[in-house]
């Protein structure tokens, strides 16, 4: 399946991603932020599809948009944020933070512009039809230890979350 109108979709999806990113960090209401983030995640899944990574796109939708973000929304509903909305949204050192971030961005841009020769267009032959299979083989082959550690990490996270959120320990 050849992607159609690649250029258009790239700008469209990355535009959505960036705009929703801006919305995430500027909205007063945390729910709106979360919704913007979900939109961004979905647009990003589209970008993954354009990069011949359908499995990652699927995982992104299931895990991120369907799982993690629901967790976020769940928590936002549990903790009543009405008071937080009326307060000052940005902290006192916001200017410093902003400057630091912009400086970092400038750094990255410089690297990209100066070093654009580093990123020569080397296209690996994407085998889309067996993408999932190859990822599976890699996960259980090359990266088996990492995979196991990730599962351990999740276990720790589950226990940690339960302990943390429990009312009376």
């Amino acid at each position: 399946m050849q992607p159609v109108a690649t250029t258009f979709f790239f700008y469209f999806l990355s535009g959505i991603t960036l705009i929703s990113g801006i919305l995430v960090i500027t909205r007063k209401n945390a729910v709106h932020s979360a919704l913007a983030l979900i939109l961004g995640l979905l647009a990003q899944a589209g970008l993954y599809l354009m990069l011949y990574a359908p499995f990652v796109a699927g995982v992104q939708i299931i895990l991120y948009a369907g799982g993690i973000m629901v967790l976020f929304l769940f928590v936002i509903m549990l903790v009543n944020l009405e008071r937080a909305q009326k307060e000052e949204q940005f902290n006192k050192q916001w200017l410093v933070g902003l400057l630091a971030a912009v400086a970092l961005g400038g750094l990255l841009m410089t690297v990209y512009l100066k070093g654009s020769t580093l990123f020569t267009e080397h296209i690996a032959q994407p085998v889309e039809n067996s993408n999932t299979q190859q990822i599976g083989v890699m996960l259980y082959g090359n990266y088996m230890f990492a995979f196991e550690i990730a599962s351990l990490l999740l276990l720790v996270a589950i226990i940690g979350a339960v302990v943390m959120a429990k009312k009376r320990i």
Binding site: L51, L81, R83, N91, L98, L108, F119, E121, M138
Partner: protein, 101 residues
Amino acid sequence: MAPITTLHYLVVAAALFILGVIGVLTRRNVVIVLMSIELILNAVNLNLVAFSRMWGLHGQVFAIFVITDAAAEAAVGLGILIAFFRNKETVNVDEVDLLKW
């Protein structure tokens, strides 16, 4: 228009990363700080997947690990947030300047 190269994706990812950093550094609301961290992780993911188009599938595998990581981070982070809110009735990061209460 010029064809879309990897560099395009990298620029988008960098912009997303910067947005995340700004969110983490400037917002007071913990929930939004956590979401900004998600933004950062996503920017990384986008980078990884973009590179995987150049150098094979390793990047995608790593993206999956990052997503796993994000799930763990979100679970623990939100757990801390709930415990925090229960005790302090606030979700502002700059009010958590005590190590105990």
